[in-house]
Symmetry: C2
Subunit: 430 residues, 2 copies
């Protein structure tokens, strides 16, 4: 990790930069796969699965027997752990339900706003070395609470043409309606256009590598919404001498092991704490199975010493971390001044791992500074707000003239007429 | 308007199609303007304003004196009308404020979700034949309620290098912090990158022509969010024999006058009502100043007769109208079954004009079927939700093992370690 001691504010722009890649060179490939799947459907998906995932499959949807086999083979203690996580995630996301907002803005003018579920959503779960079933919890649980009708899931098959049992178990536990063995660009294209097997969806959620990221961007050109722009995962910790260096090191490493493009930042106003934390990192790193990945991530990472709490808070808000751990004595000051962050973890017994799996908050969060304008996934990510209004005779009589004046000033006489006609008929009735 | 009597469900896909244009041919132009403004800032903006808007300006920001002059010249009755609209819009959007959601998901595990304003937002208001000051009400009022720090506004100067007085009046009334005389692609690029005069923003809102639409799409590639994908405005009315044909015609025309690419749809289960409505349209059309625009829009428009209420509701939800007027006896059935729509207007005294200007609801709404997955602009469009969590000793002791099991099953030993270390230290303390 590079160290920056009292950097000038003019250097901040450089310090808040993320190690992002440009994916322009993937656009042609992605666009080509989209075109093929749009026109040839399942056939094209089978071919790409053979080409990219090196496995020949003949059926995309996972059938009931496969699901049941998976479910039966997950160890009981892991099932209990997943169920416990589900309970917490459910509680927190159910608490986010908003009632209909209803207001009589003036006598006879009733306006209300009501959330409705997005009817068809698609969840993408990456494959690779380990089954990331925790992301199913984070996406399918709020989708189910929101009331989405179709919750479909796509994930790439392994070399035997199967999906991991943990994934099948979690999917059926959380109300996923259909599961498909398809990954990468072809999964995103399938959910965008629909094929013989895969239904099209209105919004696509979930993490993925650079191919999936570009494919999701492409999907958004075809009337499909996406959860948020994706980037490598990141964590910022602010710590002082009251923080346990071992805990801080373990949290930095838990983020660093995600991928070699992950970024971890330590911010402090106490230069003296750096040595112990560095020592703890080096010690813990030795025993990590993914230490090569973590080491690479640490190269992109920084330890930054700032003058005082005020400067530290300003820096952190300009960075806008995805995950943000606060481990300082002056905790309330930092918490009260959070402006830009995905999810905030407070105090020494609140590691990022807790939110990644089981405390109840969502782990699908804005990276790359997008916390300045995007929320992490939450219940409302699966709904849209519709407004309603009903105006009675008195309401339109009281409000009509104002509308006429404004419509006329905008040169929209048709808009004005819609009011004038009504006012005239009401007057004639009297 | 074309008529479709009892169309087969297999024809619906065709019927719900919008008259959309492809803007691929504008991408090169937009990309070029973005590049110039990114590198050359204000100078490039002055040049493009000269080229596109045919006016030479030397200062982008509107100064206090210009604003004051504008404010003083707006007629008193129009000011009152705007103020009345502001009151209603404010009431409805203030009612959308959500309190912090706080849950103890299990003993010692506290999670909460808090909305924070997006600090810097940009509003785009198109120029053209008439000043669309009503869009300022719809965007600046919720931005101010949300607590956005910087609310900047861009709108193209007229041939005298000025902005319309109604626009200046509404902007200062609604808390816009800076107003700039710049339009089109160059305005969007300016707000995306920032220039010597124009601050960059985190999210851009507002309507616009095809150039602005493509520019907003381009902005979203540069870490700037946008309100929603834009398309031509549209209205669907469901009516029966209890609806007043004059009112229905006036509402259809108020939508049709927006632009020649607007679309209006009449749905009914009562074929007999069509003749009277057509008669009323033809009659009212004669007196519209924008009748040529409205006539063109009517060519893209349809009258559709369906078998029964159930089929009508299914069709309307598959169309997902931006504006949706319900004028039938069986009103509750239609209201209760709204799944996809931007804003719904109920009953004969609730014309779309009311919501366009003054009833309180927002008029920035999803078009082109995007109501299936997007909300119209609302208070939350100007905020993002941040989650927080704080776990105590008991919490991590009770939850720790579940997290360890799940992290291990995902092959993320670093994540597991962050828990194990804490559990170990807690046990050693005892």
């Amino acid at each position: 990790m590079e160290e920056y001691i009292y950097p000038l504010q003019s250097q901040w722009d450089k310090l808040i930069e993320r190690p992002t890649a440009s994916y322009d060179d993937l656009e042609d490939l992605v666009s080509n796969v989209f075109e093929q799947i749009k026109t040839r459907g399942d056939d094209a998906i089978f071919e790409y699965t053979n080409e990219f995932d090196k496995v020949q499959i003949h059926k995309l949807q996972v059938d009931k027997k496969e699901i049941l086999d998976g479910v039966n083979n997950v160890p009981k203690d892991l099932k209990n752990a997943i169920q416990k996580a589900k309970n917490n995630i459910e509680k927190f996301h159910k608490a986010q339900i908003t009632k209909t907002v209803k207001v009589e803005t003036q006598p006879g003018v009733k306006c209300w706003q009501k959330k409705q579920p997005i009817e068809k959503v698609g969840l993408y779960i990456p494959g690779g070395s380990a089954p990331l079933f925790s992301s199913i919890l984070m996406l399918a649980i709020p989708a189910q609470i929101a009331g989405c009708n179709d919750i479909i899931l796509c994930s790439p098959p392994n070399s035997h043409g199967k999906l991991p049992k943990e994934l099948l178990y979690t999917a059926q536990l959380c109300g996923v309606t259909k599961i498909f063995k398809v990954g990468g660009i072809q999964a995103i294209a399938g959910m965008t256009f629909g094929t013989e097997s895969i239904p099209n969806v209105y919004k696509i959620f979930g993490p993925g590598n650079q191919y999936v990221t570009v494919a999701k961007q492409m999907a958004s050109r075809y009337k499909t919404a996406i959860d948020m722009p994706a980037g490598p995962s990141e964590l910022l910790i602010v710590a002082d001498e009251t923080a346990d260096p071992d805990f801080v090191a373990s949290d930095l490493l838990s983020q660093a092991e995600h991928g070699s493009d992950s970024q971890v930042i330590l911010v402090t106003t106490k230069k003296s704490i750096l040595e112990n934390i560095k020592g703890a990192i080096n010690e813990q790193l030795q025993n990590l199975p993914r230490k090569n990945i973590a080491k690479k991530a640490l190269i992109n990472s920084k330890m930054i010493v700032l003058e005082n709490d005020e400067t530290a808070v300003a820096f952190i808000n300009s960075y806008g971390p995805e995950h943000y751990i606060i481990c300082v004595e002056n905790e309330n000051y930092y918490v009260d001044n959070v402006r830009n962050a995905g999810s905030v973890f407070i105090g020494k017994y609140t590691p990022e791992s807790a939110g990644d799996y089981a405390s109840g908050t969502n782990h699908t969060l804005p990276t790359n500074g997008y916390s300045k304008q995007y929320s992490g996934v939450n219940l409302d990510s699966f709904t849209k707000a519709i407004t309603f209004q009903k105006i009675n005779k008195q309401g339109i009589q009281d409000l009509g003239e104002s509308i006429e004046l404004m419509a006329a000033a905008e040169g929209l006489v048709g808009h004005k007429n819609a009011i004038s006609l009504r006012l005239k008929k009401i007057n004639n009735e009297v």
